[in-house]
């Protein structure tokens, strides 16, 4: 007898568990989909020279090529902007994009993905076709391809500041090398937080337009870091100027101006290289998410936002000139062939 009703009982429990699990999944998905997206980038120039960047973007995802471009690297591309020939000063010219891959020592800009855990997988598609999502890291490595991945950096090592700030403030201030932001969270009302809340980086969208003027240093979305050695990535703490806001993860709640926990940052810069003038004031608008901030530690890299070469546009313009006539010829040909089919099939049918 117990077995008789135990079975439906268990079944009901299983159903309930699955239901709760599904709801949890949905909530987690919506909570994560709520914030702004960031993706990491590791560019390995070989010989221990590596640069990382953290790029914020709006929308679901951006292409790998767009990520590389927004990080502020000087790019030379070929094949209608689908192949990367040269990053900054290393690589090949556009008309001979794989110039180093014909004879040893073989080298080209190999493209890798990781899900933020530092494990690289060689990309099976080109960077223009790959969509990078929130929390992923893309890697570029100058070398013989699959066998030479970039150094295995995790996502939180590249896009480090927003996650580190709210939890471990004293630890962050004690680091002498990096300019450390000190945080003064104004309203303590933001402390109760739901368990699924992921640390959400600072965002202009969370702050309404009437936000205080101190919030103008919010979220320079692309931060680029130069690492001198691969083994010590922690030294390259990017001096993110960030307003760390952590708000309840309920998707419907809109942050009001009064309780919005805006956090002002005062960069305590100890290293002389860091120039505070790099801190671009990105206004609280989502459109200006292309600004990049550079923080050279071991070497100086010029930010120089590179206008992307657009060979596609040129090719399209060149081919578009005679196309209406050509399409006319095509239509005439198709109509002629169809007419031939009809004419020749009639006497026999």
């Amino acid at each position: 007898m117990p077995a008789d009703y135990a079975a439906p009982f268990r079944f009901r429990h299983a159903c309930l568990a699955i239901f709760i699990f599904l709801i949890g999944l949905t909530l987690a998905g919506s909570a994560r989909a709520d914030g702004p997206r960031r993706a990491g980038l590791v560019v390995h120039f070989g010989g221990g020279r590596t640069q990382t960047a953290c790029v914020a973007f709006t929308g679901d995802s951006i292409s790998g090529m767009e990520l590389l471009r927004r990080a502020g690297f000087n790019l030379v591309t070929a094949y209608a902007g689908t192949a990367v020939c040269k990053i900054d000063d290393l690589g090949c010219p556009s008309d001979n994009c794989f110039c180093q891959s014909y004879a040893p020592p073989y080298a080209y800009w190999a493209y890798f993905h990781s899900h933020g855990d530092g494990n690289w997988s060689y990309s099976q598609v080109g960077a223009a076709d790959y969509q990078v999502r929130d929390g992923q890291v893309d890697g570029w490595s100058w070398g013989p391809g699959e066998s030479s991945p970039p150094p295995g950096l995790r996502f939180d090592e590249i896009c480090l500041a927003p996650t580190a700030i709210p939890t471990s403030t004293p630890a962050a201030t004690s680091t002498p090398l990096a300019p450390t932001p000190t945080l003064t969270p104004r309203p303590p009302t933001a402390t109760p937080r739901p368990p699924t809340s992921t640390p959400i980086p600072p965002i202009a969208t969370a702050l309404p337009t009437e936000a205080p003027a101190t919030a103008t240093t919010s979220a320079p979305p692309a931060t680029r870091t130069a690492l001198s050695t691969v083994e010590t990535p922690a030294e390259g703490l990017p001096p993110l100027a960030i307003t760390a806001t952590r708000r309840p993860a309920t998707a419907t709640q809109r942050p009001l101006p009064t309780p919005s926990p805006s956090v002002t940052l005062t960069p305590v810069s100890t290293t002389p290289q860091v120039t505070p003038s790099h801190t671009q004031t990105a206004g609280p608008s989502t459109t200006s998410s292309n600004t990049s901030m550079l923080s050279p530690l071991s070497e100086t890299t010029t930010p120089a936002p590179q206008p992307s070469p657009a060979p596609t546009a040129v090719a399209a313009a060149a081919s578009a000139a005679g196309q209406p006539l050509a399409y006319g010829v095509f239509i005439v040909m198709v109509v002629g062939l169809l007419g031939l089919l009809v004419v020749r099939s009639k006497p026999r049918g």
Binding site: A128, Q323, F330, R344
Partner: protein, 338 residues
């Protein structure tokens, strides 16, 4: 009808664009040309399959390609809708580029299928086998026997199945196949022995025993093969010595051709029902060769002339009237002598 060699040339001319381009405009032209040719040929050919059968098969292939491409290939700039990311394989954005790629791939497959359907309707396999050079005589013989056996086997499967069903046997599972397969095996063996006996009774292989290949020939064969392999390797892996590698490949091929011609000349084979070359064969050969020449010349001038790729962002396919009109030459076999 045309000489089988001319049909082979036409097949080459039609299959080169069908295999090498994904541009839907060129593919449509080739497809229509193949349809016209098929229609002209099938009216008089006993080999023609039912056109609707070919079309149905092509459409099935097309739909499968399209569904597979759209659901598994999530790249491209224009998103139509998105499936949840956590679904395996199919999860992710559905893009217009994947749709276009699936459509053009299916079109390419359909075009190729129709080209081969027209060719198969026009040319008998045995006619093709008779074109083989003498040194491939053995291979040709084996292939022609195999080709004869396939329809015979299909017929005997049908016979055995009917006979078993008359006895009340019903085919439901894998185990029920045993009463079908055993008789099939025995009939196949019987037929093979019969064929061997009948060939022997006609003194096949008795006249003069095949002469042993001479040492020079064996050496030349090995040397030619080695040269081709080494040349291919050098061509692929050492960019500096491309010309040298090509020379090595060419030398190997010449060596092979000389040896094979020499060994083919040792025995004299007669040919059964040799087909005469006629003036309209020359005309069709000229049309096909002209089409191939025009296409390759255009490709030589502009290597990307036939290329079309919807990725990363979809564009309208380009159409070059020169290539388009050269493709129209493929319709030539439709004007045969009545």
């Amino acid at each position: 009808m045309f000489h089988p060699a001319v049909w082979l040339l036409w097949l080459l001319a039609a299959a080169v664009p069908a295999l090498s381009t994904r541009n839907p405009l060129y593919l449509v032209v080739v497809l229509l040309c193949a349809t016209v040719v098929y229609q002209a040929v099938a009216a008089r050919s006993p080999l023609a399959h039912d056109w609707r059968l070919v079309l149905r098969f092509a459409l099935t292939l097309w739909v499968l390609t399209l569904v597979f491409d759209v659901l598994t290939w999530h790249y491209g700039a224009t998103r139509l809708l998105a499936l949840p990311d956590n679904w395996p394989i199919v999860g992710g954005p559905i893009t217009l580029e994947a749709l276009a790629f699936g459509l053009t791939s299916g079109l390419a497959l359909t075009t190729l299928l129709l080209v081969f359907a027209a060719f198969n309707a026009a040319v008998d396999h045995y006619q093709l086998l008779r074109l083989l050079p003498p040194f491939l005589y053995q291979a040709g013989l084996v292939t022609s026997i195999a080709l004869t056996f396939i329809p015979q086997t299909v017929a005997s499967i049908r016979d055995i199945r009917e006979a078993q069903m008359l006895r009340g046997h019903r085919f439901r599972g894998l185990r029920d196949l045993v009463p079908l397969l055993l008789p099939l095996l025995t009939t196949g063996l019987e037929r093979a022995i019969q064929l061997a006996e009948s060939m022997e009774a006609r003194a096949f292989g008795h006249a003069d025993p095949a002469p042993n290949p001479r040492t020079v020939q064996r050496f030349g064969l090995a040397l030619g093969t080695l040269a081709v392999c080494v040349g291919l390797f050098a061509y692929t892996y050492f960019a500096v010595s491309r010309a040298f590698a090509l020379a090595v490949i060419l030398a190997g091929l010449v060596c092979l051709a000389l040896v094979l011609m020499q060994s083919g000349r040792q025995r004299h084979y007669t040919r059964y029902r040799r087909r005469r070359w006629q003036p309209h064969d020359t005309r069709l050969a000229f049309a096909s060769a002209l089409m191939l020449t025009l296409t390759f010349a255009r490709l030589w001038l502009d290597p990307a002339a036939l290329a079309y790729d919807p990725y990363p962002a979809i564009t309208w396919p380009p159409f070059d009237p020169v290539i388009g009109s050269s493709l129209l030459l493929l319709v030539a076999p439709a004007w045969t002598r009545k």
